[in-house]
Subunit: 513 residues, 2 copies
Amino acid sequence: MSTLRTKYELYVTHMRKIQDVNSSIALMHWDNEVNAPIKGVKLRGQQIATLSAVAHDWSTSSELEQLLTSLYSQRHALSENEARNIELSLERFNTEKKLPTKFIKLFSAAQTNAFHSWLKARKAKDYSIFKNDLKIIVDLLKHKTDLIGYKNHPYDALLNEFEKGATVKQLDVLFGNIRNELVVLAKNIMDNGNPSDKEFLKRHFDKKKQWDFGIELLKQMGFDFEAGRQDISEHPFTTAFSSRDVRVTTRIEEGNLLELIGGCVHEGGHALYEMGLESEYYGLPLGMATSLGIHESQSRLWENHVGLSLSYWKANFESMKKLFPVALGDVTLIQFYKAINQLAPNCLRTVADEIHYHLHVLIRYEIEKGLIDGSIEVESLEEIWNQKYKDLLGIVVPHSTYGVLQDVHWAEGLFGYFPTYSLGSLYAAQFFAKASEDLPDLQEQISQGNMKGLLEWLRTNIHQYGKKYDSEELCKRITGEGLNFKYFIDYAKEKYSHIYNIPLDVLNKEIEI
Amino acid sequence: MSTLRTKYELYVTHMRKIQDVNSSIALMHWDNEVNAPIKGVKLRGQQIATLSAVAHDWSTSSELEQLLTSLYSQRHALSENEARNIELSLERFNTEKKLPTKFIKLFSAAQTNAFHSWLKARKAKDYSIFKNDLKIIVDLLKHKTDLIGYKNHPYDALLNEFEKGATVKQLDVLFGNIRNELVVLAKNIMDNGNPSDKEFLKRHFDKKKQWDFGIELLKQMGFDFEAGRQDISEHPFTTAFSSRDVRVTTRIEEGNLLELIGGCVHEGGHALYEMGLESEYYGLPLGMATSLGIHESQSRLWENHVGLSLSYWKANFESMKKLFPVALGDVTLIQFYKAINQLAPNCLRTVADEIHYHLHVLIRYEIEKGLIDGSIEVESLEEIWNQKYKDLLGIVVPHSTYGVLQDVHWAEGLFGYFPTYSLGSLYAAQFFAKASEDLPDLQEQISQGNMKGLLEWLRTNIHQYGKKYDSEELCKRITGEGLNFKYFIDYAKEKYSHIYNIPLDVLNKEIEI
């Protein structure tokens, strides 16, 4: 028994050391996007590559392999949580081992280069500045799918990195539903409903005041500023160096109030998940988010089901109005609520409404799949992108910064990540329905600015478990069934029937056409 | 020959990897002082400890040892600079090898803990909060002197880490001179001269405007904001992740204009040295500052000989006055120049005048020496500190934040560092005298806000060499002689005779008493 204990402790120490290195890499990435001067970029890339190689070496060391195989064979003598840590670590080990250190270093350097040519390309509104570095990323990822291996489609190998068990086969069905149902729903709402004015959202909103308001929103959600901070970056993101140091970023536009609110509440949702992970499991699977889909369910739940709800603005509209008496002086709560929930096809994913959002994800999913299986070339990516936006959303992309260059993900080598945005949104609807059932006065609490009940529910049902349960199992444990598209559709229909004054049965009937 | 070439390249790659890790550690330290939320501190300490162990392992690996000994034996076939890199790397290797990885980890963790208890202790003005962590640092350092070894005094082992070749024996003489000459000089000036009003420096100076002004001063010096940045921290410092990413910090007080100016120009001087190192030598000795004394000579040269000169304010006083028309409206250039150069004993080192400054360093030198050789106990440090300030500067320390807790150095485990401040100041006087000889219109250039000539002189004579020459050799190459106390004394007498309207011969005579 004492040998088993010693081995488990050695395993924990080993995993924590890997996490230490990964946290320092995460800090360098954060610093690159928040602080780093432009001339330091090349050497920073080399620094990240060196540390990535260390993390990879340690993650694939024979010492770890021996510990894991030995502990796995004795897992029945471990506690349930310990055994689960071992099982998941071994699984991860077997994948990591397939990637040679040389590949990790090349990929890490490619990420840094691509990120910075993406920044330059955005500034110049010129996709061609980015494309060579993107080509390198795509070629490396194709190679990665061969290294990792896959059953049916090479893209499955990449999906699995972010959402265990996800496959092209399943996602083709899911995005088929999205294409069939949501294109029609969006069209029906816009054709039959009464749009509301939303022009006032583009009035002048002082940056400093927006920043301060964002901080207040984060505090209200339960974001702990002694265990995290907010900064400004080109593209909002959340990163965690431990559950005690979680960082969100946001961007602020003087003529667009929604950019800030959406950013803070969305990233705040991610951050609360990271802050809610058990710090005793630092570095171990049970101390990590179970999947990106579940991670996104947290940001989307806060962003859509809280931040875009009438209850939320009952709590916050008056204090916001005090900050912006000129810009919002003539605006009522209901006008504001309707304005922030107007549907309109738009070329930017991050400011998309809740329904069109999934069409943005669908386009990225199809493109990634195509780039990885070779049916789409990086060279012609911009044309394909623009064509899909025309076909599916009916809009013309004005230039590449509002088109193919809008997201940071590909510049960071993240392929297989986008689909988790739709998964997350669907999980969010399903979780929020269940939370509303468990907490009958949830809307009342939210309308009083009291988010404690909701946060507690999320901590209890989701955050505390880390990777203990996979996404699908977690969903079943909480809601009694696997992911079900119906919750999102029901939620969307009810919400927009109210906002657009369309009887629910009209929307229901129309859908069947 | 090709084997030699290959070996040298392997050596370069190895050294760069070590630098990559050290740069990521430096980023974590920087982030700790600039950004990090308080609850993340413990795990951050662990992260730094893990990476410090990696850097140490690589710095003491048998692979590196073989490369170095082999290359050293063939050094005559290398270029002069290559041979120097090998020689210095081997020297460093032999020291590093004496420190076991376990010690490095313990010390790294102790640094992090001490830094944060120092922060807490400062807030509470209570030395006792800090003292246990300081005791751990001191005990570890005592152990370190045994590990490294020394000839005469254990403190020599620590001094050598920052200033190669420095010894207690030499410094006792140097600080003996300081005690004998500067106590008398300061007293003579204050007794015989006419003090000027400096109360207006404590008027209200808007923080944001101070910040902007500081940025302009840095730009004027030649600080490249595409290769660096400035932030706010508790204690100003400079750190570099490469010569292309150099970071300075400053602190701003609304009622103290000098805090900012001193901070910016001083740290800016450090930063220009780092920016002036050859980036082709990244990770190699010739790409690193030769010693802390020379590093400090750069900050002091800019701070004292430029930033506190009349010429400098001829260039900058009017633009500063425009920023603070209320606070400085009734102040003339000469009044300002005299005000910022008033002598007065003060309990804070960082705001000390140029003469009393050395007495602050002397006190720290004596205390460090005593802590390391056991003649002073951490327990009674505060009393000893306060007594020395009473004896040497004639002042009563109001509380520990203005006393024994004022500097971050001990909290960061930096013992042997303080003496380099005095060395730097003396080197600065000697270098500036030589620069003034080489550039006859230097004062004229400075008074026009043109710092290019001076920066070029520093780049050519000092920055570009990195560790190619040790401090003393560098000083001889530039000025034709080793460090000579006379340059500082001559400079100080001339400057203060002017500011206090005391004939130079009066000061000269008095000194001999």
